[in-house]
Amino acid sequence: MKPLTLTCFLLALSILTYSQSGKITGSVMDSTSKTPLELATITILGPDSSVIAYKLSDKEGQFSFEKLPLRKKLLVNITYTGYGLFHTTIQQDSARTDTLNVLLSLNSSDAVIVTAAIPIKMNGDTLEINPAAFKMKGDAVVEEMLNQVSGIVVWADGSITVNGKQVSNLLVDGKPFMGSTDTRVATQNLPKAAIEKIQLYQEFDRSKIGQPGQAQGQPQDSLLTMNLKLKESAKKGYFGKAGVGYGTRDRFEGDFSMQMYNKTSSVGIGGGINNINKSIGNLQEMFQNNTYRNSNPNLNNVGRFGTNGINKNHSFGGVLVHNFIESSNSRQNDRITLNYNKSGVNAFVTDNSFQTRTTVEKPQFIHDEGQSNNRSDNHDVGLQYVKTNSYNDNFSINGSFNTRNGSSNSQRFTEVRDSANQLQSTNRVSSSGSNRSDNQSVRMSFAKSNNDAPAQNFNARVNASRDQSSSERNTISDFRSMTAAGNNTFLDRLYNNQSERIAFNAELSYAGFKRLLMGRHNLFGFNLSLDQSFNYDRNTDEAAVSDYDTTIKKRNINEKLSNYNRRELIEYTPSLSLMKWFSKNTETGYRSITMSFSLMNDFKIDKNSSSITQRNLDRNFSFLRYSGWLGYNKSEWQKYQGNASLFISKTYGYPSIDRLYTIVDDIDAYNIQVGNPFLRNNVNHSIGLNSNFSTQNRKSPYSFNAGLSGNYNTSKNPVTDSTINDTSGKRITYFVNADHSRNANLSYNFNISRKFGTNTLQLMYNGNFNFREQPNYIDGISNTSTTNTLSNTFKLFFMLGSKYVFSAEQVLQRNKSKPTAPGLNAFTNNNGVSRLGITVNATNNLTFSSTAERVTNSNLDKPFILWNSFATYRFMQQQGELKFSAMDLLKKYQNITNSVYSYGTTTRISNGLQQYFLLTFSYYPRKFGKTEIRRKEGPKNDWD
């Protein structure tokens, strides 16, 4: 707990220091008429020209600033359209209030060119931020500037909210940047000096095109979009990172990312190789993790101690985005995106797991230890083409091609003991094999809506895919029973599996149905939509299984397991939806109620043909089901926004062929599954709730948002397990129907941020609760297993200017499994993680960071601590970086996880990284426009 105490002390100290502050009040008036000037911009800048605070004068021309830093020379700038600029310096050495009454004179000319750099203004329905009004260090990136804008919160997890609403889309000059709308790549790389202005506006959600009610323009149907408008001189540029590092225990890492863009195209390439479990498999993730931001370094982009085993990762890829039109808006798109990624991993994992399991006689304690070596090699090629002319049309086509090659070797030894610690059985399994899979898919969507021809409004989607896989695996299983030696088994089994899946899905939402049916009649404001869905799915599997006969030293075909199976599923679902909106605009806000109800009928044909006679089964189903939705949305402008919705549905399910006529494989003596041809269909009812609330007061230093969502599901005739713990120790599971089961989950979050000038304090809390009540049979006894998991995470984040970043996090998790039948045992485990992080930007070039993680677990005698520290030095005009990482300084780390299932709990400890030290050199090539922007930093005063 010491690190936590230290952080609390530091936080308290900084807050105490902060509370000793100065105050300025004053007024702005016309020098001749003494008329108060309303909406004059008063900006207070620090000695490094960074914006400390800014305000607009009130109707009386008055303003007031509190909590100004003491003993610092501050520049006060006052601007007012048409008047000359006023500036003066002030310094307050003690906590007092100074008064500043300013008389501004009109500029001499009547025709005035506005020269004031206004930090933030509304332009119609768009909020515009002027980067030139924020004086910051030359290499500051956009995100650092956003931290200083009132109403904008850059949360510790990288997400951005504006007046409480999350930015869903980030565009650069109206287009996704490097093919992605994620906020991080653009805001953590692009220098503030390259941006002409930042626009924030609500943009229509294209996924709603062609849906009824689109014309109403419901606020909930729009996405908050941030558009970074590049300066004309910065519409061409490149940036990236190349880094190599080597350390003790032969640990190494290499990262490379390079991104180039101009007005119409962007290219990004990236790659990496490491043996420190650092995740580099995905190109977009590589771009997001290797950004230029330095003041709040990404302390998670390091060797991952929580990952199982030692993984040697490699990846290389590229993305090319080309816009065929040079528009700077997001309505018009004609864009192609091509990407390729090669990745692979060579993983070595050893693990020990401890499982508790309830049985009728006495509980079992299962100890499992194993090691495995897995290699994989993947190639992914993707193509996307998007064409849109307006918000009323959308055409996109996505194609992908993937191949996966892998091989694995594993050995596993399991021993089962009873509560008296008597050994009941053991199983030794070794397995080796290889696998290959290919996947090709194409996805197309086309939507159109037309006010002049509403009968033609539609939204169509077509998906087609083909998957092929083949694998070869040899498994040797040696099961020994201590209670019934006659049941010992030794199996040496070779599996050769081939499978192919072809899937085709087409969906058509026809929103013009009302016009077609009712003509010009408005149907009392109700909207009608006729939707069709067609699905074809064909799975062909071929398994050739042979067992090695130790007597004759020869492999024999296993007739029970070798099989050919082909399953065809044809589904057609027409549905009719009825929707109605009630909305009201008031002077201060907006509120609406939305209702919808859909009635659907699933027609299904399920044909199964197999070399195993009883698996030749043709079935037809017709299920009439429904869903309903009720939503309420309320906004009070500049105050808050909230919404709540309720969802209900009824669905049906039917047992799969693999549950009716299971091909019983006894290679795993602890998991032998047997089918049941008498399984019945199940009926499911769901009710869901979702609600969100956020404050939207731009003037308030507080930003608050909270969300609550949950659902409750019940199922009649669910398929469940009847498990027999054989006297020999083997475990056989039969599929059976239960009367009903139910489950529920609830997740919630609560985030609050408080800005103190350029400092930010954030508190984030989220949690979830899962509950499941599953009937089953244990050794013939009817039982209901109740499992629940409660997990809560509290996180505190404090950023003191751009100098210090503190974070503290506490994760608490509790798992519980409880059977109802007498004689069965309940189990509980819990774990907790306390994390602390600190970053000190000692100078513009030198950064120190440290993280500490304290892990407690009910299955560990005492907690352990993972302590990592980093020192980063930037040089070569901030483009070179030397980083020293000291990982697991206390050499105490263990990989441990807890989980829960219907019969008990599991705790797993696996191998992973251990203490190492690593020195990394990185170079950040950066150029925006013809000259390097960061050296040209200076205000551009052409805002209107």
Binding site: S33, K34, P36, E60, G82, N389, D452, H521, N522, G525
Partner: protein
Amino acid sequence: MNCIRGLFLIACSLSIALSTQSQVQKIYLHPKAAGSEKQSKFIDSVRFIPLEVTPDAQFTQYSNVEVTRDYFMIRNYQAKELVLYDKQGRYIKKISYKKLAGDLYPAYDLRTNQLIFFGYNSTYALTPKDQIKIEMDWSSPKNKKYFKKYSIDLNDSTFAIKKEKPEQKDIIRAYHFYDDIYAAGVIKTSELFTDSLDYEYKLYRDNKFIKGFWPYNRINELKYQYQPESISIGRTDTPYINYITRPYSDIIYKMVHDSITPYYQVVLPLENSLPQSFFTKPFKNKTEKDNFRRNNGMLLHAIHPMYENDRFLYFMVAYLYNWEAYIYQKQTQVTHKAKNIKGDSSQYNLSLLSDFGLTRNKDQFYKTQKAGDLISYFEKHKDVAIPPELEKFIKSNPPATSPIIIEFKFKN
């Protein structure tokens, strides 16, 4: 033949316009460099009309006042309510028109002293094409059902809402112009029209077309395709004299009776002027035109004249995706942006030239203000004398949300 006739008329209009161009007064307007000034340089005769405090009337951001023959009428569009006061500010009645389904809003007809609610019947969902088809065949009894019309007679103290039968003038959006003349200035193009000739501005007497101005091809006139437009009229204090402007034109015309001559030309920088291709090259479809409009939001769309006296011309400029109000000072030949004109202490720091909620009756302008704004002003400025017409009202400690009417004039 119609096409040739149309072209001939356009050529005649252009030659007349060019020949008179030299006499037209030019107003140079640079939208980015519009001037700022103190409000007292532009307006005077500020007078307050406190309204009787009643829970029925609350000031809202969008409250505006309309001056009828006998009443001040405060509109609340969002609540679909009207509150009537007599000219001394005494409360008369609140009228709610919530029960009128659809988007029906009242328009005041000075000639009949009636409020008219007219619009499409919300029982039907009509597309722009449907609307043209219906309007083309407006006299057909089966098409009457698509419209709703109600009236409130302000001569009748019951102020009852009465159902009316839509007439031709309602459907073609014609309004009373002068004497027995009605005028309509709606411009639409559609392939549904069989006859290509139409006029941008049309005069009617007894439901009969008598004269048209600025002929255009209503099937495919390039500049008017895909988007309805309208002629803008600015009434003057002198009978039979009006200002008139056209979409995509920088000329303000003067209309005396039914004779039109160019009066002012608002000269904008090249960056705000429409390119020649806009008038000569057709857009492929509505989307392309809409994209052009959004991508060129500060190009001229139309000028709306509002008021003129000897010293000032008050007008609005609609750009393709923005709009602004300006005041042209004739003596200095400088154009000021209304938003940049700030209220000063001689006018109690009230910004009266805001761009919303300003109405005019002859040479007097009216605006509503929240009582709280004035109360707090006089509380903070004890040295400023409260105007006599406000003294009793402020001493009565009215709720801050009570509306007050402010009347003022442009300096002359």
